[in-house]
């Protein structure tokens, strides 16, 4: 199992490179994970998506797909791609400390 070093702590990762333990997550960890995805600064809009992802995950046990994000997060597809280039659902899930969404198979 691979790991990542954040703020002096060693955190476990799953096979997709996402955090293995939800409880390892906090906002500072998110900022570091974002840097790993090439996102230098998390703005309010980023946080809106990340918080929405975490809320859905807590309710359903699965991170939402890009379609659900567009429908319900209050951020449209175009902006999602500019906030999280290439793969908004996959990247925001990773930064939110969640496993890769099931829809991304």
């Amino acid at each position: 199992m691979s790991t990542i070093e954040i703020a002096g702590k060693t955190l476990e990762l799953d096979a997709d490179g996402n955090l293995a333990n939800l409880s390892d997550w906090n906002e500072d960890v998110a900022r570091e994970l974002a840097k790993g995805e090439g996102i230098e600064e998390l703005t309010d809009r980023h946080w809106q998506v990340i918080n929405y992802m975490r809320k859905v995950y807590q309710e359903n046990g699965d991170a939402p797909s890009i379609r659900k994000l567009t429908k319900e997060s209050g951020v449209d597809t175009k902006e999602l791609y500019s906030l999280f280039p290439k793969g908004p659902a996959k990247k925001s899930a990773k930064i939110a400390g969640l496993p890769k969404p099931k829809g991304c198979i």
Partner: protein
């Protein structure tokens, strides 16, 4: 009398109908199946139509040829499922009640979901091959085409038969080579995935095949819109790819009846237990085939493996037991790779496609993740097996759960 109702008489619904009609005592059970159409399409055959290998009559048969005797068949659109009332409303105004329900309404393409896809070039320079109409229109186009830039794109995942787009570009390479104009055709494979396929090992091996066949891969491209005027596709992050002919796999969604019934997710796929195949929240409804939200491939072979599991679980449930059989996500897909050869992949929820021999370790006759003539015959044989064994609910010579025998890690 207990009532079993099956919605959809495609691959999965027809298989379940045959298996259960054969098993359930006809003095105790009445079985009804509903579908809007009278014709059964062999969808895997659509792939071959654009290249003149099959034509329409090779892929259609009347659905009634596959219905057992003693069941009620209703040809009508399904308007709404009312799962709390155990009731289904049909578009012909009939109201059906049931004790047990099996939903098998499949998935279909929704080109209207993408801006500009159904613009003025639709079925002129922009084609799909997931419908018989699209495949035939493309065959006509290819016959007269002198060459240029051929772009295949997958709009968003999941799609049914996730290997079909790869097969399409492999066959295009073969077809234009045989026509002597391969040097005039520039083939591009554009996908929202990070590589040629969903799972890492298969993705890298299949990616090498693309390179070898001189097909250009553009990964991580999520289609935002189609620009008809300038003939290009544009991604959400404004990357543009021009085309002379676009072969697109539009968004795939479950039927609108699922949305009208409030039973689907955002793509109208039905939340279903990935092991038991029971619809979440109900103890008398099953779902099978492309209509579910299972994290497995949407393919006829998968529906077949599911049908063995659903059959066992159905018998458990009607006898008051908990469903015991567990589906493992098994998929087995022949990938046509052109020039009379094919590649085979075999995988499940947890094990990605691996190289090796199938089904007999060391012997085959099929080779996993390798290009062979024998794998191509497997695909050709699949059509015969589909019409003669699979739809009729007969046993196929493959286990429903995946086996590691013969696979190399």
């Amino acid at each position: 009398m207990k009532k079993l109702l099956i919605l959809g008489a495609g691959t999965a619904g027809t298989m379940m109908l045959n298996k259960l009609a054969n098993e359930l005592d006809s003095s105790e059970w009445s079985i009804t199946i509903v579908d809007q159409f009278e014709t059964h399409y062999y969808q895997p055959g659509f792939l071959f139509i654009p290249f003149g290998i099959y034509n329409k009559k090779d892929v259609i048969k009347p659905k009634r040829d596959f219905f057992p005797t003693g069941v009620e068949v209703i040809v009508s659109g399904i308007d709404k499922i009312e799962p709390k009332e155990n009731r289904v409303l049909l578009q012909n105004n009939q109201v059906l009640t049931y004790d047990y329900l099996i939903i098998a309404t499949g998935t279909k393409i929704r080109p209207e979901e993408t801006e500009g896809m159904m613009g003025e070039l639709w079925h002129k320079n922009i084609f799909d091959f997931y419908t018989v109409e699209g495949a035939i229109a493309l065959a006509d186009f290819f016959k007269r085409w002198e060459g240029g830039k051929l772009v295949l794109n997958i709009t968003e995942m999941p799609i049914k038969c996730p290997v079909a787009p790869l097969e399409f570009v492999f066959l295009a390479d073969s077809y234009f080579t045989e026509r002597g104009i391969r040097d005039k055709v520039d083939i591009h494979f554009v996908t929202p995935l990070p590589g040629a396929f969903t799972k890492p090992k298969a993705s890298s091996i299949l990616g090498d095949f693309l390179t070898k066949k001189n097909i250009h891969l553009t990964p991580d491209f999520s289609l935002a819109r189609v620009d008809n005027e300038n003939k290009k596709i544009v991604s959400w992050d404004e990357t543009e790819i021009p085309f002379d002919v676009l072969v697109t796999i539009p968004t795939n969604m479950g039927d609108d009846v699922i949305e009208r019934s409030g039973m689907g997710d955002e793509l109208n796929f039905i939340p279903t237990d990935k092991q038991t195949l029971m619809v979440e929240g109900y103890d008398n409804i099953f779902a099978i085939g492309d209509c579910t939200n299972l994290p497995s491939s949407k393919a006829g072979s998968v529906a077949h493996f599911e049908s063995d599991i659903l059959f066992e679980n159905f018998l458990d449930v009607i006898e008051g037991r908990k469903p015991r059989a567990k589906f493992d996500g098994h998929a087995n897909c022949y990938i046509e790779s052109g020039f009379g050869k094919g590649i085979l992949i075999d995988f499940n929820y947890d094990t990605e496609p691996l190289p090796g021999k199938f089904p007999l370790p060391g012997v085959g006759p099929f080779s996993l993740l390798e290009e062979t003539k024998m794998n191509h015959y497997g695909k050709v044989m699949f059509r015969w097996m589909y019409w003669n064994l699979l739809l009729k609910g007969k046993e196929l010579p493959i286990e429903s759960n995946m086996s590691m025998a013969g696979k190399r890690l």
